[in-house]
């Protein structure tokens, strides 16, 4: 007798899909577009039912992106409609360089989606820093005209200016929008009018400040964390932030959860599992 409920076991092998379009989003970010396998007649014709299936995707979830013979890393879905999806990639190291070098027709493997996404409520404010805006894009698509604050170092690193008109923009150098940090804009907004929810994704020091600000003024908030991932589904312990698995318990956490994480904003783990300061982990990276 087997009392294991089979439905609990989920196969999650990568499924390779060809790039159908490449779009430059900013000086350093590029979007790769793909056909969704669920709605691809060729996939159905070959009798395939890929494990990779975006039909239940929740903004804030992520997918594991595989370049055969190179590596596999977590990315957000930044575009999603009935037929296609896309990822928006900031050029940082060898893996993202290889993604930037892709052309239509090239294969990329996907598994997922994984993790716990945002829990949606009415009347929120979206705060995106750098490539963290990629995570916010599908969230914005589903919210009802949220206020959007985007921050970046300079004007040519801003994302989705045409896609989401009317964003409140901050740049470190003042090359577009206000000069200063996106957290300054949020501070102003919060003191003027307490929002029902703040959704944030960006460099962890930025998110730490957002959390602090929201807790000080009793505004609920959710933020999406980034950690080095291996399995992506909660068994290896690689991505943990204290006792939480970012890949499965997160990557989105709410204020109370974040406040309980001593490592949040402070420490992360490298590929070997070594714990380092969050600055060393990002190597100054993540859109800053």
């Amino acid at each position: 007798m087997s009392d294991m409920r089979q439905s609990s076991w989920k196969s999650g092998l990568p499924f390779s899909i060809r790039v159908i379009e490449v779009r430059d989003e900013s000086r350093s970010a590029r979007t790769l577009m793909f056909r969704r396998p669920e709605s691809d007649p060729d996939v159905a014709a070959s009798g395939d039912a890929p494990d990779f299936n975006l039909s239940g995707f929740v903004p804030g979830q992520f997918v594991m992106v595989w370049i055969p013979r190179l590596d596999e890393k977590p990315f957000t879905i930044s575009y999603l409609d009935d037929r296609t999806f896309g990822i928006t990639v900031l050029k940082r190291g060898p893996f993202t360089k290889a993604l930037h070098a892709m052309n239509p027709g090239d294969w990329v493997g996907f598994r997922g989606p994984y993790g716990r996404g945002f829990s949606l409520s009415a009347g929120g404010v979206v705060v995106g820093g750098g490539v963290g805006m990629a995570t916010m894009a599908t969230l914005i698509d589903r919210l009802d005209k949220p206020k959007i604050l985007q921050g970046a170092r300079t004007a040519d690193e801003l994302l989705f200016l045409d896609r989401f008109p009317g964003m409140d923009i901050s740049t470190d150098d003042g090359s577009k929008g206000r000069r200063g940090f996106v957290t300054d804009a949020l501070a102003e907004l919060i003191s003027a009018d307490r929002p029902a929810m703040v959704y944030a994704c960006g460099p962890e020091p930025m998110m730490a400040r957002v959390l602090q600000m929201c807790r000080d003024r009793c505004v609920p908030c959710q933020a999406s964390l980034e950690r080095f991932m291996k399995c992506g589904f909660g068994v290896c312990g690689q991505c943990c932030c204290d006792g939480r698995r970012v890949c499965r318990d997160g990557p989105v956490f709410n204020s109370d959860e974040l406040a309980g994480l001593a490592s949040f904003g402070r420490f992360a783990r490298l590929k070997s599992g070594s714990k380092v300061g969050i600055g060393a982990y990002h190597g100054g990276g993540k859109g800053e």
Binding site: D3, M4, S8, W9, P14, W107, G109
Partner: protein, 321 residues
């Protein structure tokens, strides 16, 4: 046979505790090495979920990055992994795993090395910490220099490494063996001769391989990797059965266990404790409490007041090999 035992509302609370090489576990479930065992915070969480003991992810002398991703994938009958023993090395591990009394269950250290001397050195560094025992996985099927790819799965190497580890500590030493060796009993016997206090049976199966057809490429970064979870379960049970016949050491039965019924099968095959790993994929860390609850219900159903009375029960049948 008594019809009264048919009712779960029986008038006793079954005793699920076991004594494993002198270590008391409140229940037989053990977090297997390599699953969630990277930080003390995770060990704490798993213990709070109900595990009887927890094992850390294997630690080597120097830090290791392990293999390239993908390192761990779920397929329809289990997991396949080639993590390649990524770990921060013993120095950082000693920081991470200090103050283990915070963890509500005994903590086992998993120690790896490329030769006997390395095992001794890692154990030596760990001795001041609060580990309840050392586990030596001589059986990983997908990491060059280690386990079966490092020639550690033979009776001779098992004897040599176990002896060395034995001399380095007074704490119990467990030797973790491979399901891929036909003569599993000989390896268990070698571990016993080397002074092992328990056998952990088994490590992952294979290696196996899966191929992405579109890109004609094996899906794991390392190309092949060990198979665990449901696919491994019947093999692991037979290995435990064989080891129970071969040596009179307690066994930690590991492989594919995700329910109380599976755990009970392991116990009846001869296991004193039952490791759980891949089931965390299907059921989360809460799987430990779930398994323990189901084992309690099964003990009531069978009228067993002490779980430990059932260890090896399947061997008491005539006419079987």
């Amino acid at each position: 046979m008594n019809m009264k035992t048919d009712r779960i509302a029986a008038g006793f609370e079954p005793d699920l505790s076991v004594s494993l090489a002198g270590i008391r576990l409140a229940n037989p479930t053990v977090l297997a090495s390599g699953i969630l065992g990277t930080t003390k915070a995770l060990l704490k969480r798993v213990a709070e979920c109900g595990a009887g003991a927890v094992t850390i992810k294997s630690i080597s002398l120097a830090p290791r990055d392990g293999h390239a991703n993908p390192t761990i994938l779920a397929f329809d009958a289990g997991l396949i992994n080639a993590v390649g023993y990524s770990n921060p090395g013993v120095e950082e591990a000693c920081r991470e795993f200090s103050g283990l009394s915070d963890v509500a269950a005994p903590v086992f250290a998993s120690v790896i090395g490329t030769h006997a001397g390395e095992f001794v050195e890692v154990i030596g560094r760990m001795e001041p910490l609060g580990f309840a025992a050392y586990e030596l996985p001589l059986s990983c099927p997908h990491t060059p220099g280690y386990g079966t790819m490092g020639g550690q799965g033979t009776p001779q190497a098992t004897l040599e490494i176990t002896k060395a580890a034995r001399s380095a500590t007074k704490k119990p030493v467990f030797v973790k063996i491979s399901p891929n060796m036909p003569a599993i009993g000989e390896i268990a016997a070698a571990a016993r001769e080397g002074g092992a206090d328990a056998i952990t049976a088994v490590n992952s199966l294979g290696p196996g391989m899966l191929i992405d057809v579109e890109t004609r490429t094996p899906v794991l970064g390392f190309g092949m990797g060990g198979v665990t979870g449901p696919a491994l379960r019947p093999i692991a049970l037979r290995c435990v059965y064989d080891v129970f016949k071969a040596v009179d050491l307690p066994i930690i039965g590991v492989g594919g266990v995700s329910t109380g019924r599976h755990a009970m099968e392991m116990v009846m095959a001869g296991a004193t404790a039952v490791g759980v790993g891949s089931a965390v994929h299907a059921f989360g860390p809460e799987v430990f409490g779930r398994i323990v609850g189901q084992m309690r219900a099964l003990c009531l159903k069978l009228g067993a007041e002490r779980l430990s009375d059932l260890i090896g029960a399947a061997h008491k049948q005539q006419g079987l090999p």
